[in-house]
């Protein structure tokens, strides 16, 4: 099998999407940690357009954009499928992956706010997004993929682990057992899946990292915390 490399950064949720997919399928790979404050010639060569991680390199050929990478991994290595067989269910899964990419970023807008109108707006958007997941995405299933995790669960990983960190740092509580019962249970169930459990950034370390990032960001805007 041709060599597989993953260029990522700890603790990017997008890096982890690819790690989870590779591990779930049992694909051996070399992980390369990238320093985004000092981008390597390798990254600039493999992703000249966006200069972002993650980048998967398979047999020397780069694939960029985590959603594209997930599909690529599924296309090349069909074992332990991330997508269902049925075409309509596949379309539903892809719908939610697209939703994850288009709508979940509002939680990072929330991350970058302090108290005020902007925060209220970001909070409102985030709640609407979570409501859509609860009522239309997850409904009463254990996982977005049904009984087992699938590509949509992987795409929503941010909501299971990184959102809790955002809630802690911003001082808001979005997902609670009585407001989003299914989603709340899902965040626990998702992180109990062995491959996921073994491959998550340690919460305390992540909190320190993002606390500093948030402080630096707000400082550049002249806002203190």
């Amino acid at each position: 099998m041709e060599e597989v490399k993953l260029i990522g950064t700890w603790p990017s949720p997008f890096s982890y999407r690819v790690i989870w997919a590779l591990k779930l399928k049992g694909i051996p790979y070399e992980y390369i940690e990238e320093d985004l404050s000092n981008k390597s010639p390798m990254l600039l060569q493999y992703n000249p357009l966006h200069k972002k991680i993650p980048v998967l390199v398979h047999g020397g050929k780069p694939i960029c954009e985590s959603a594209v990478i997930l599909q690529y991994i599924e296309d090349v290595w069909p074992q332990n499928p991330l997508l269902p067989n049925d075409p309509h269910e596949r379309a539903v899964a892809r719908f939610w992956v697209q939703f994850a990419d288009n709508k979940v970023p509002c939680i990072w807008r929330l991350f970058r706010t302090t108290e005020g109108d902007e925060q209220e707006e970001a909070k409102k958007e985030s709640m609407e997004m979570l409501r859509a997941l609860e009522e239309h995405g997850l409904r009463d299933k254990k996982f977005f993929g049904g009984d087992k995790i699938g590509i949509a669960d992987i795409a929503f990983g941010q909501v299971a682990h990184w959102l809790e960190m955002i809630e802690d740092l911003v001082g808001v509580k979005l997902i609670e057992a009585h407001t989003f019962p299914h989603l709340h249970a899902w965040t626990k169930n998702f992180k109990q899946v062995p491959i996921i459990k073994e491959n998550l950034p340690e919460y305390g370390e992540m909190l320190v990292y993002f606390k500093r990032a948030r402080y630096n960001f707000l400082a550049t805007r002249g806002l203190g915390i």
Binding site: I63, I69, Q71, Y72, D75, H88, R90, R94, Q98
Partner: protein, 233 residues
């Protein structure tokens, strides 16, 4: 009776929507018969709200009673479900990844910014126009890598997902030029993009589905006026 239901395809859409146009082109290329249900987007039907409760938008494809939403998701669904017609994606996984990557680029970076040009004026519009030119330059360079020196052959009958998405954006470029007063599809600045778009507008399915120029101009003017009024209010 079972035969009549077997391949029942309905498309809920709106005649001027480029997102809907993508699906129409794909259905035509694959030779799939369908019923078009025109939606009044100011007064959305109960059916639409039921079929797309999350976004409440068109297009929605209904195949044997089951809804599929989001144009790019619909295109992949069509390709996987109707294997008889020409493929919308290449077979090779790496080529597929490239097509998906560039489709994502056109969708996120070009579409959004072109909409901004249509909805703004003055300095804001100047800025948005500059961004579209930057993105087009990136696409022009990307095409050299995507086509890898091979002449990209559009045979007049078939298109892939990236062709369809680019065409849905710039197929109406003449109307865009007329209303916005900017020439984006410029053969001197972007020769590869320009020749590609020109070839796409000649594809039979695209020609058959293109609304008349005057109607495209009118709807773009309407969108622009409405957006400018809203921002002035």
């Amino acid at each position: 009776m079972k035969m009549a239901k077997e391949n029942n395809v309905k498309l809920h859409g709106m005649w001027a929507s480029p997102y809907v146009k993508r699906v129409e082109i794909a259905l035509k290329i694959k030779g799939i018969p369908y019923e078009f249900v025109e939606e009044d987007l100011v007064n959305k039907s109960q059916l639409l709200l039921q079929y797309n409760p999350v976004h409440k938008k068109v297009p929605v494809l209904i195949h044997n009673g089951k809804p599929i939403c989001e144009s790019l998701v619909i295109l992949e669904y069509i390709d996987e479900t109707w294997k008889n017609g020409p493929p919308l994606l290449p077979q090779d996984p790496y080529k597929r990844a490239k097509v998906r990557f560039w489709t994502s680029f056109v969708e996120k970076e070009l579409f959004e910014n072109l909409l901004l040009v249509a909805r703004s004026e003055g300095e804001a519009q100047e800025k948005a126009i500059k961004v579209v030119f930057e993105k087009l330059q990136l696409l022009e360079e990307g095409l050299k890598d995507l086509f890898q020196g091979e002449t990209y052959h559009i045979d007049g009958e078939t298109m892939g997902i990236l062709d369809i998405v680019l065409c849905s954006l710039f197929g109406a470029h003449e109307a865009q030029e007329e209303v916005l007063g900017v020439k984006f599809i410029d053969p001197e600045k972007f020769p590869l993009v320009c020749s590609w778009v020109t070839a796409l507008t000649e594809v039979t399915a695209v020609k058959e589905l293109r609304p008349p120029h005057e109607k495209l101009v009118a709807v773009l003017q309407f969108i622009r006026q409405r957006a400018l009024q809203a921002s002035a209010a």
